[in-house]
């Protein structure tokens, strides 16, 4: 019975039924929240200088960073191995993703929303072969972000919705020095890295936190650069699993 219901529901969704306009995720929201973010330099996180160099020419100095085709050009360059283009693309996508997650899961607290953004980033990375290079990038990003936001909402519902968001201003007097390192974040990293293979954790720590290159880590760990990259890819898959568990 369960299987029949599940398959029936899936086939109903799969059959090309004309849905109400509100159910079309991309068409409705283009003007509402995404475009202002796309065309705003301020909205994007500043990109570390180390990864912002050698960016591809996206059509001249007057081209806005999120202009049509720019995301796609960056993604195509990234798929060919251009790390700078990929870093720029991801940093440009962050505000877009935050907007999407906020819109689809407004009930989540800021930390959980940021977790959803990070899980979405990881998923975009691990599933980027599912983007067709002749299609626009943002609808693909949006579909995945929406899915992840809804997953997070479901997980919260499964926990009985016991997490409540308390405005941080109410706790201002109790907060520690804002300039100090965030122990929760530190604990978060340690916890995640502790759950994966030690060598992979070393690679993640080296590239992500210490800013080392794959070649430098390879020399330190007596591995080839290619092996470091393969290990990093596997570590990212493990981190994806860890992240999902933390959200669920």
């Amino acid at each position: 019975m369960f299987l029949t219901l599940t398959l029936g529901r899936s086939l109903l969704r799969f059959w090309p039924i004309r849905r109400p306009f509100a159910a079309r995720p991309w068409g409705l929201h283009v003007g509402a929240g995404v475009l202002p973010v796309l065309f705003s330099d301020e909205a994007a996180d500043p990109l570390p200088a180390a990864i912002a160099g050698d960016l591809p020419d996206l059509g001249g100095a007057g081209t806005p960073p999120g202009a049509e085709g720019a995301f796609e050009a960056l993604m195509r360059a990234a798929n060919r191995g251009d790390e700078g283009a990929y870093a720029l693309l991801l940093s440009r996508l962050i505000p877009v993703l935050r907007g999407m997650v906020q819109r689809h899961a407004p009930g989540l607290g800021p930390e959980t929303r940021e977790d959803v953004v990070q899980v979405t980033l990881l998923t975009l990375h691990l599933k980027r072969q599912s983007w067709r290079e002749d299609l626009p990038l943002l609808p693909w990003v949006h579909a995945i972000a929406r899915h992840k936001a809804i997953d997070a909402l479901r997980a919260r519902g499964a926990r009985g919705g016991t997490q409540r968001h308390v405005p941080i201003d109410d706790l201002a007097d109790l907060l520690a020095d804002p300039d100090a390192a965030d122990p929760a974040r530190r604990h978060d990293i340690d916890k995640m890295l502790g759950a994966i293979d030690p060598r992979a954790a070393e690679i993640v720590r080296g590239i992500g936190i210490l800013g080392e290159s794959a070649a430098e880590i390879g020399a330190r760990l007596n591995m080839t650069e290619g092996a470091v990259r393969v290990a990093l890819h596997r570590a990212l898959r493990s981190l994806d699993v860890q992240r999902k568990r933390m959200i669920e």
């Binding site: 398959l7 299609l135 990093l232």
Partner: protein
């Protein structure tokens, strides 16, 4: 972990190693080789296969192949969020509708006796299970390849993979099967394809989650 750290990590792994289409193609190729090997080892090819393929009986092989092609087109797009899936879904729907219409028309032409002969054929269970057996080596690697896609509806993708595998398995098995009555072939092969679609949907729900 801060988002900046994550971006740095992801950017270090920028190069895309294998395309989704390549993975699916390789999975299908491997699955088809295994299925054909199994077919030859277990049943062998039917006598006079070359001549049979020159007659209308070839539809027994061609229709499942077309079904598998349409389902493959659809599942390939189902693993790509925001890709336009409607034309592929319509093509698959049209193929299924044509098969159903064919069965109805042939049933009307054959009458009650024809239906009794087709549906009461004692070989039905044997052919049904044989199609399932031949299809399994196609379904497993196909589901494996689809895991690298982004399946927003895993049960649907699994069901479509089941249709691809079942239809391809039916096309393969038709090279060995000497039962040519359409009123036997359509329900038997279709039943096996539906069973595989259900199995694919069930497995896909757990293995194809994004």
């Amino acid at each position: 972990m801060t988002t900046d750290v994550l971006i740095r990590l992801l950017a270090s792994d920028a190069r895309l190693r294998t395309r989704l289409g390549t993975r699916i193609a390789l999975a299908l190729l491997g699955g088809a080789v295994c299925a054909l090997g199994l077919l030859v080892a277990l049943f062998g090819l039917r006598p006079g296969l070359g001549q049979v393929l020159m007659t209308p009986t070839a539809a027994k092989t061609l229709v499942p192949l077309v079904t598998a092609g349409a389902a493959l087109w659809t599942v390939h797009l189902a693993a790509r969020p925001a890709a336009p899936m409607r034309p592929a879904a319509r093509a698959l729907g049209a193929v299924v509708a044509l098969i159903a219409c064919g069965f109805v028309v042939l049933g009307m032409l054959g009458g009650a006796e024809g239906l009794r002969r087709g549906l009461g054929n004692p070989m039905m269970m044997m052919c049904f299970t044989s199609v399932l057996l031949i299809s399994a080596p196609i379904l497993v690697p196909l589901l494996g390849a689809l895991r690298s896609g982004a399946n927003l509806d895993p049960a649907r993708s699994g069901a479509l993979a089941g249709i691809v595998a079942g239809a391809a398995g039916a096309a393969s098995y038709s090279l060995a099967c000497d039962q040519d009555d359409a009123l036997f072939v359509i329900p038997t092969y279709s039943g096996a394809v539906v069973a595989l679609a259900l199995a694919g949907a069930f497995v896909g729900q757990f293995t194809l989650r994004l």
